[in-house]
Every structure is written in C-alpha cells, then in structure tokens.
Symmetry: D2
C-alpha cells in the first residue's frame, strides 16, 4: 500500500515516521519544507506539490482545520490527482459539515473517504498509541486497518458514514473542555473557602476522577501552568464551535457548550488565546475576583 501523507505538524510528523518504520512506502508533502526533509532521511519520498500523489493508494491528511484542508486537498489538487479508487483518510479534527462535503467530493472524483480523527497528543502519536475514532464503509475500514494498527493502540469504529466519526471526535473534545470547565468552577469554589485548588484536585484525581483527562488538566490548573500549550485556547473555542454546529443541525441543545463558548470568549477578550486550553479555568478565577 503506497501512502501519501499531507500535514507534518506536531501530530503528523511522528505518525508519518511510524508508517515508514513499519515498512510502508510513504510520500509526503508539507507547507513548510523542513519537516519533510527530516522524513526524507527515513525513506520518505517528498512531493513538491499536493497534486503529486498520483500513485498513492491511500492519502492521509492531518491538517489544522476545515479551511486549510479544503484549500490543500481540493484547491491545490490533492484529491483530483489521486488514482481511481484511492482512499482519503482524514485524521484531523474537522466539522461534520466539512466531512459530509468531502465525502461527497471524494465520491464525485472517484475516490473514497474515511474519517479517522484521533485521541492523543504528540507523545502518544509518537508512541503509536493513538485511539483512532473512525467511520466509513466497512470494506474501506478493513483495508486501512493495517495503517491504523501502526498509528494507534486501538481503533474504534462508529458506523459507515464518515460524519459519525467527526461527531464522536467533537463530542470527545467537548467532554474534555467540560471537564476543564468543571474543574475551574469547583476550584474557584473551594479557593473561596481557602482550600488550595491543588489539594482539592489532587484528592479528586486520586479517587473518583482518577483518569488521564483529569490528571493531566487537573495538574495544569492546580499549578496555574498553561504554557507551553499542548492545544490552545483558540483551538478550544474552535472545537466548541464545531460541536455546537454539529448539534445545531440536528437540533440538540447543549447547555454546557454555551457556558464553554462564553468562557473561551472571555479568555480571548483578555488576551489568552495562545495559552493551553486548560486556561479556561482562569476565567472562573477572574470572574470570582481572584485574578
């Protein structure tokens, strides 16, 4: 299976590397050249434009958002250049609407679309331990499973319509933002009674909430440490917006999502767009007069 790979950012780079190590034939393209050069040394072929994946059986994209994905894959011709029957696996977090649009676009051009966003940050990607949230035609999913086996520790199939995986990924990010917000609010509450948030969160994450999401973000909140950002406030707001859009088109009210949205906006209005999205907790502190 010849794989084309577009998007060698923090996540894409180690994922492409893992595919090379596993013996796949990998061609890459990236907006800036440096990350591609690094992969060249490991055996990757470098494409000069996104339209050169003419012999890829599978195209994997890991780009920042809907707009950039559309620009590169449609605008710069990546999809159009693929051979008939090729499979496009989009592993980025994109909107449900974009997913539906791209699935239709792929069909129209003789390709097939698989949505496969992931859970896990850079270190998890490097270790090949991502959780892969996928949806698409089951034949396609079977075909690309060997790729998923390299990139992740587990693949979760959510149906045969790609937008199902997009919805699941947005719901998962909503869960994370909700956990951060709840910790922020309760930390502000106990802080008002002179209980150190670190003591409260330490107790919680050792007991009922002893889970990676809480331990990771709870420690950041406890230490008031939001740089370097693993995932920025700005991106946090974007993903809440995508979850709200996905919910809106199906008429699903989501009360916590509205709270999250307003608090991200409050944070951005105060200049915090580049902090880690766990800095959502600082909004509760500021509103209660503690910051």
């Amino acid at each position: 299976m010849r794989i084309g790979f577009i998007g060698l950012g923090g996540m894409g780079q180690p994922m492409a590397e893992n595919l090379l190590k596993a013996g796949f034939e990998v061609a890459v393209w990236n907006r800036s050249a440096t990350p591609a050069e690094a992969l060249k040394a490991q055996g990757a072929r470098i494409c000069a434009t996104p339209a050169e994946f003419t012999d890829s059986d599978v195209l994997i994209t890991m780009l920042a958002d809907d707009d950039i994905s559309r620009e590169v894959v449609i605008g710069q011709g990546a999809l159009g250049a693929l051979p008939p029957g090729a499979i496009w696996i989009n592993m980025a977090t994109v909107s449900v609407a974009f997913t539906e649009e791209m699935a239709a676009n792929s069909s129209a051009r003789g390709s097939r679309y698989v949505a496969a966003p992931v859970l896990g940050r850079v270190d998890v990607a490097a270790a090949g331990n991502l959780n892969i949230l996928t949806a698409g035609d089951s034949d396609l999913l079977d075909k690309v499973q060997p790729i998923f086996d390299v990139l992740g520790s587990k693949t979760w199939r959510f149906g045969d319509r790609p937008e199902q995986a997009a919805a699941v990924k947005l719901a998962a990010n909503f869960m994370l933002a909700s956990a951060i917000e709840a910790m922020g609010e309760s930390a502000a509450l106990v802080d008002a009674y002179d209980v150190a948030p670190a003591d409260f969160l330490g107790m919680l994450t050792s007991t009922l909430f002893a889970a990676p999401a809480y331990k990771n973000y709870g420690a950041m909140i406890a230490e008031n440490r939001y740089t370097p950002a693993g995932f920025t406030m700005k991106l946090g707001l974007k993903d809440v917006r995508l979850a709200q859009q996905a919910a809106e088109s199906k008429h699903v009210p989501m009360g916590i999502a509205g709270v999250l949205r307003d608090n991200y906006l409050d944070a951005l209005a105060h200049g915090d767009e580049n902090l880690d999205w766990a800095a959502l907790a600082t909004v509760s502190a500021r509103r209660s007069g503690k910051k």
Copy 2:
C-alpha cells in the same frame, strides 16, 4: 473512645457496624428502630432518644440533610446532652452555612465540631473504604483519626475550619453532576448521528475518562438504567443548590451549576425525582426530541 452514632440509614448502618467490629464501644439512636436492633446484636447499646449520649466522647451523625440534622442534634437535644469537651463529627453532606452554624453551636455548648463528609456509596462504606474529607482543628482531627482509619481507606484534611470540608464535598458532588451532564449532552449529540451512546461512552471510559465516576454513571446512561437509585434526582438537585449557595456567599459564578439546576428541574417537572441522579442525561435526550 466511646462513640455515639445517630443516623443508621444506608450509609450509617455499615459505618456503625465497622466501628463495632473494630472494637469501639458504640451507642446508637435512629428514628426507626429496626436498624438499631440489628446493631444491638453486634454489641451496640441502643439509646431511646438522641439526648442519651451523655457519656459519648465522640458523637457521629449521618443524617439526610440540614433540617433533619438540626432537628435531631439541636431540637432533640443530642448536642446539649454530650459531656463537656465531646467531639461532634458530622459525616453527612450538609450546607456550608449549616456547618458554620453548628460549629458555633458546638462551641457555645462546650463541644467541638468536626466536618467529615465522605465520598463513596453504600458498598464502599461497608468495605470501610470511604474517602473521608475532613476539616477542623488539627488536634481534634488527630484524636478522631483512629475512627476515620476504620471507616475509610484515606482521610483528606482540608483545613482547620469545618466549612472547608463542607465546601469540598459540595464541589466534589458538583463535579459528579457535571460529568453526568456532559455525558448526557454528548450522548445526545452522537445519538443524533446514529452513534449508539453506549459505543461512544464505552470508548471514552476506556480511554481518557477511565475513572470510576465515568465508568459507573456512563454505564447507567448507556443502558438507560436509572433504578434502583443510588442517589436520587431530588438529592442531586439539593446538592447543586447547596453548591450554588456556598458559591453565592463568596461571589463565585458557576455557569455549569446553572445548567445543572435547570435540567434537574426539567426532570422533576417530568416526574423523575426518584430516579438515580444519572437520569439527568435523559433531559438532553428529551430536549433533542429523542424521548
């Protein structure tokens, strides 16, 4: 140490039993006689009224709420009957304001107050594995630590003012309700895309949210199983209200708490007051037209 114990409900009964098994001398009183009789067989002395704990070094209460606690301990004379210097350990979930009031009341009558609400349901209480969230004068906490060692697997100290433990307990319950609400909202979202909530929640609770709180309530939501209630909707609303009151007196806005409140009210308006409080998730389903 002679211990008086008031409140032999689902939690109190096994807690008193554990104290007897550990060799403490325990006297008990309960509104209805049956649970006390059971303990008598295990060696407990039964008091006919709450005012008979005249030789207890420590009085433990585990009553339903502020009003019942006040009625029994103050109204029926339990506190007034204690010997000088006795310690009252209130292990129930009560309000911050009630805690402050009772601490003052205890001082005024020559007793001393320790707040020690717990995390854990009936089975955890029976196993002696509660997490004990305590606050009060450190000398007092040291004195009663042997009791906590019997009842719980770990004691967490949050300060020398009893209301600090009350605030922590309410914040912890708020965290649980927030987790339930977030699961309810995201389950409604993925359901709208024909992804079974069980599949989504199963994935989450095996990965980022692999914690007891999520596994327990996630399974109930996935199976739409809300009876028998471990903790009812009505009590869920009560604890959200107590958290809001604690927050209000310190001027702490809590956006998610407002969402929780309204959704509990929606559920109660639809007759669900006696379901398990995880049934909060059914509100998101109903609002999105799925129920």
Copy 3:
C-alpha cells in the same frame, strides 16, 4: 379604618404620608425614630414598639426583606398585638415561601393576610401612582381597596392566595433584570463594532422598546451612570434568588435567571454591590475586555 404602618424607608415614608393626607388615622413605628417624627407633624401617632398596634384594623408593613419582616412582625410582636380580625397587608417584596408562612401565621393568630407588593420607585410612591400587585381573599381585598386607591393608580388582583402576588412581583423584577442584562449584552456587542451604546439604546428605546423600563435603565447604561442607586446590585441579586427559589419549588427552569445570577455574582466579586442594579451591564463590558 385605623391603619398601623411599619417601615418608613424611602418607599414607606411617602406611602404613609399619602394615607394621612387622605384622612386615614395612621399610627407608625420605625426602627430609627427620625422618619416617624416627620410623620407625627402630619398627624400620625407614633408607637414606641411594634407591639402597640392594638387597635389597628389594618397593619401595613414595608420592610426590607424576609428576615427583617419576620423579626419585626413576629419577633417583636406586631402580629400578636393586633385585634382579632385585623388585616395585615405586606407591601414589601418578599419570598413566596415567607408569604405562605406569614399567611398561615396570621390565620393562626386570628388575623388575615394580604400580599400587595408594588411596582414603582420612590417618586411614584410619593405621587400615589404605584401599581399594586395584590392577592388574597376577595372580601379582604374589597375592604382594603380604599387604601390601595390612595397609594396607587391601579390595583391588579392575581388571585385569592397571597403567594400569587409574591410570585408576580418576583416575576416582574426578573423581567426588569432580564431587560437590563439584554441591554448590557447587546451594548457590548455593538460597542465591539464601534457603535456607541448610547446611539444603539437611544434608537431602541425610541422604537420597539419605548417603555419606561427600557428608557430608564437604557439611559443609565448609555451614560455608564450607576449612582445614586435606586435599587442596588445586592438587592438585584437577592430578588433573582427569590425568583429562582419560587421557580425551584414548582420545578420551573429559568435559563435567563441563571445568567443573571452569575453576572450579579461577578459584579459583587468586583466590588459593585452598592451600584444601581443596572450596573449588571458592566459585567458584559468587562467580560468582553472593554472595562
């Protein structure tokens, strides 16, 4: 009809005066003596304690809140001292629960209770143009109508249970707070596009929103002028809380009330408790980074 009048604050003083002018025999009591002295010159009898209204056919109270009303009327014996069959008209804004409690209390002591909170500030009270929101037994309401005719320009009857008028008054105050909040949010929105809130609010209050509530508070918001306070932020929060409690006991979710509550808390956390409650609008400004 001999009238007893308790509570000669900003509202009560001109109300009692109007009753004197209309020829009623009025006895008064007030916590501080000065306002009572002023009324003495106009013909009022001054009582030394709240328990001296022993010959009043009607007792009117206009006290700050539930606690003070309970303290004076029950605690200091005003209700107990009334002659059999006397009518207590409570014209203050109090909670639904307190209203129910006092109606029962009155019956138990041989008196009868009428709830009659008012719409209108001090100048309206002075002009005898209050809107009187009343509920109680219709025979009683007929009897005291001559009093209402002096105090107000219009009396609105909402039923035979006093708590109905209490609920209506709280709902009306909720409407006002909602209007202020909506103006605050939309002012922040247009301000972000460099449209002066004064221009926007001026247009609104000349067109679709040309009503006293909007003109009054819209001007304060437009001019960023929140002193002197006609009604403070702290009282605004109190009335939102009373509306929420009234709603909670009947299981009525009120989404805007939750927003109001959090924004009042935000304001109080920033030291604004004594500003006019229209200063709620400053929270939207601050959150969007404009203040």
Copy 4:
C-alpha cells in the same frame, strides 16, 4: 435616480411599491414572477435576470439570507452588471461577515455598498414607516436618503462601516428574542402559581413594559397563538446564530444568547420550526411540565 430592486417578498413588495408611488423609476427582479407582474401594473420595469440592472444608479436588495443574497447578487451577476459608481443598498438582515465581504466585493467591482437593514414588519413596510438602521460612507448615505425617506419614518446612522448597521440589526433582533424568552420564563413561573400568563403579561405591558415589542409578543404568548408566523422560529434561530457569530469574532460573551439558542433548538426538535418566533415561550412551558 433609477432604482433596481431585487427581492419582492413580504417586505420587498410593499417597499418597491412605495418607491414607485413616490415617483422613482424602478426596475425589479424576483425569483418567482408573480410579485413582479403586480408591480409592472404600477409602472415597474421587469428584468428577466438579476444581471439586467445595467442602468440602475442604486440597487436595493431584500433577500432572505446570506446565501441567497450571495447567489443572486454575485452568482447571477447583479453586482457585476451595475454601472460604475452605482450604490448597492442591502436592506436585508445578513451577517456581519457577509456585510464585510460584500462591501469589499462592491469596491472591487467599482460599486459602493450601504447596509440598511430595517425594523418593522410587513404592515409597517407598507405604511412607509420602517426604522432604517444604516451605515456606510456619509456621502453615500446622503445620496440615498431620499429613498430612505420614502421607505421609513426615521433613518438611524450608526457609522461609516456597513458592518456597523449589520451588528446593530442583529443586536436589535437579539433584544426582541430576549424579551420573548424573558416573557416565556416569567409566564411559566406565574403559571406555576395559577396566575394566568395573560393577566401577568397584561399588567406588565400596561405598565413598565408598555412598548410595541412587549405588547405584540406578549399578546401572542398570552393567547398561545403562534400562527400565522410573522417571523418563524427557524429564522429566529438563524438570527441568534448570526448575533453569536458577530459576537464571537469580537470576543463578546452573551449569556442570554446561549439560552436562546438552546431553547430554539429544543423547539425545532419538537417540530415547531414554522411557528412565529414568539413560540420560544412554549419551551419554558414544556420544560416546566405544563405542555
């Protein structure tokens, strides 16, 4: 001044008619032919396509939303066909982002853009009594003022950037939706105490809230009468979304907007998309178990 007019819906038809009556030379185009035919009898020239306004000094559009406006004006060539220096007045409610995009588009093609959304429904448009909310270069506004004088009773200028008028219009619609929601919540509250919402709303709209917005929507809510729709629930949701987008790009949290959004979604999930947007009030009734 030769005027081109596109969009002869409920609002556009009487507006075009008024321009004809005032003696303007008017050419029209509409998607369906019938409304145009009616205007022909009154002297309008009918265009066969949107690209035939080649001699219009001013093009007025009154189309349903961003997408249709873009499709007709850009896609079908209306803007491109205008003579150099022509003025495009967009009187529809569109997004801030679309306004900015179209202003830039107009400049690029040698035309100039004026935003002039209106307040007022069909009968107000017919009477020439609209309130016109406008923004754009002041020279342009001066030039088209004679047109505004025919269509409206008053023109409000909000600045020289067209998006300022778009923001003001969205803020005004947000105010209306907020008023409806507040009435819905408070009606549910008093209803829970057996006070007829009609009595409560009747009192309010005769006193503090005696304004067109409240009288109009208050009566609909009191009578539970939501057909025929003057403006549908679906459009209500759309305008809340546009207000939220306008707020998001400037980092303005709007708590009530979040409540509105969720309640519109709740209504749409229950099949009410074609009711008048005052039917938002039914959500509070349903949530409190009254419907």
